[in-house]
Amino acid sequence: MCLAVPGKLVRREDGSDPLMGTVNFGGILKNVCLDWIPDVRVGEYVIVHVGFAISKVNESEALQTLQLFKDMQSGSHVSGKSEAVQRKTT
């Protein structure tokens, strides 16, 4: 399943068409389209799918989700191979 990583909107390019903005995912900045949720404000958390901010998430929800990811990272694992291993075997 795909992971819904919430990111924080740090910039809105008001006047752009489509409406674009910058979302911060734990330090990685992404340029995303905000047309689906044009009333989103800087500082709010959003879920992004294929470059589109698809929904807003309130801060406590977002922080809970991020905590959940942290727990998963420390408490569980991914079965499979890293990109590097894949490259060797394919």
């Binding site: 399943m1 795909c2 819904a4 489509p18 992004v48 998430v57 079965s79 075997t89």
Partner: protein, 480 residues
């Protein structure tokens, strides 16, 4: 089923997923012809393990929080697995409300896929300059059309928000039913959208049909092959998205299994782990891994059902069926798009029908019970295909085992085959050209896979295509 013996275990930092590419490997044979293609989906696999030890009642909230694209579908599948463990019949009103929620998810998800992800391919053409073959290019001439698409998606989102209490990741659906009934105001708010939504969907279907005409020459190369089709159908064989049983049909229209209770899904399907992908790749058990390849989602659902339950969508389904001729199913992945627009029409009509049901505003929405069964399966049709949640619990409801079967995994073999077909047709020599990349992207997009949520720039798939010779030497690669 699970690949727990793999020693090459790595920890995935969710943040690294933001920068990932969808990787595709195309392998040639000794004669330089396309032998195989693989679409590597870097899906997260730790989630099922992570859930073990938690309480079954936590699952609807947990799964819908983790899965960003279709939280409502996971919510429903999870609540239904819970119903199965409580071994109770939920109140009729609760089922009606869950159905409305699911349709909201469909409208929202299908509108995004059609208007924003696929329309640039359709309306600007596969050979248009990638710099403009995207949302920005589309906006230049189709602003009003796109605006309607945004409104349509908003309608779906509003349904989810209204029922889920203004939160997207909400455990509104619970084992035994739902938490809150629908108020008169909420009923009116949803109903008010219907005329506009229906008009927009009908326009989308018209656009879709003209696209089908315009690309008549290209379409036969877009994942055009016989496969099995899997989905839910109602007791009377009609189109289903919430209840019913599993139907398996082959690519010639023969029904292989019918109305199998979702609880018995493991009797029908086997999952195998492949070393090249994080996904478990399921197949129809009695046919084996190669022949047992099946497709789920809009194309499959329209193929397997005997009829739609609503008049306009049924009329459209008949037109869709004509694409296949008399006997066969529609085997071309390009028609996923058309099927998706028909499903949007069904969803709007069905919401209207459900809102008119005498029990929709009933107040009895939740049944309560203790753990009555140690195992439960919940299935529903997510926008991209059949979704299964399978839980095993102890007598206190603590999860001992969790297995989720998601649509993108079920479609993975067919996506590989689609890429292979496109590569065989459009690969020119030993170079990955822009035109090939565009078509691979468009081919994969037919299935609307749920890739890592954030790996793409506004509608443009982050692709990494590698071309290999028979001995594994990299001949060419292209990234964007």
């Amino acid at each position: 089923m699970d690949k727990t013996n793999d020693t090459r275990t790595i920890v995935i930092d969710p943040v690294t997923r933001i920068e990932g590419h969808a990787k595709i490997t195309i392998r040639l044979d000794e004669n330089g012809r396309v032998a195989d293609a693989r679409f590597h989906v870097n899906e997260f696999r730790g989630f099922e393990k992570f859930c073990e030890g938690r309480l079954v009642w936590e699952m609807p909230g947990l799964t819908s929080r983790i899965c960003g694209i279709c939280p409502a579908s996971h919510l429903i599948a999870s609540a239904k697995a819970g119903d199965d463990i409580l071994a109770i019949q939920i109140p009729e009103t609760a089922e009606l409300l869950r159905r409305v929620l699911m349709l909201g998810q469909w409208i929202q998800s299908h509108a995004l896929s059609f208007f924003h992800l696929s329309a640039p391919d359709f309306l600007l053409g596969f050979d248009a300059d990638p710099a403009t073959r995207n949302l920005f290019g589309l906006l230049a001439n189709n602003k009003e059309f796109l605006r309607k698409g945004i409104r349509l998606r908003k309608f779906g989102q509003e349904i989810i928000a209204i029922l889920g209490g203004r939160r997207i990741h909400t455990p509104w659906a619970v084992a035994g039913g739902v938490r809150d009934p629908m108020s008169n105001e909420e009923h009116a708010a949803i109903a008010a959208w219907l005329p506009e939504a229906k008009a927009t969907v009908l326009e989308a279907i018209d656009v879709m049909k003209s696209v089908n005409d315009r690309y008549r020459k290209e379409i036969p190369n877009f994942g055009n092959f016989r496969s099995l089709y899997v989905g839910l159908v109602a007791e009377d064989g009609s189109f289903e998205y919430y209840g019913g049983g599993i139907r398996v049909m082959d690519g010639m229209g023969n029904t292989l299994a019918d109305r199998v209770p979702p609880r018995e899904y493991a009797r029908l399907f086997e999952e195998k782990s492949e070393e090249w992908t994080y996904l478990k790749v399921p197949y129809y058990k009695s046919f084996g891994p190669a022949e047992g390849m099946y497709r789920v989602g809009p194309l499959a659902r329209l193929n397997i059902c005997d009829r739609m339950g609503t008049p306009l969508a049924e009329a459209e389904r008949r037109t869709f069926r004509q694409l296949a001729g008399e006997q066969e199913t529609v085997n071309n992945a390009f028609f996923y798009h058309y099927a998706r627009t028909i499903e949007m029409l069904f969803a709007v009509e069905e919401v209207e029908r459900l809102l008119g049901h005498p029990l929709i505003r009933g107040l009895h929405v939740r049944a309560r019970a203790m753990i009555n069964s140690m195992s439960g399966v919940g299935a529903c049709e997510a926008p991209r295909g059949t979704l299964f949640h399978h839980y095993e619990v102890d007598e206190n409801g603590v999860l001992q085992k969790v297995n989720l079967l998601i649509a993108t995994a079920q479609n993975n073999s067919a996506m590989n085959r689609t890429v292979r077909q496109l590569a065989a047709r459009y690969l020119d020599g030993k170079e990955v050209t822009e035109g090939l990349l565009n078509r691979i992207e468009a081919g994969i997009r037919c299935y609307d896979p749920c890739l890592s949520c954030s790996t793409h720039a506004a509608g443009s798939m982050a692709l990494h295509v590698v071309l290999e010779s028979a001995d594994g030497t990299i001949l060419d690669e292209r990234k964007r």
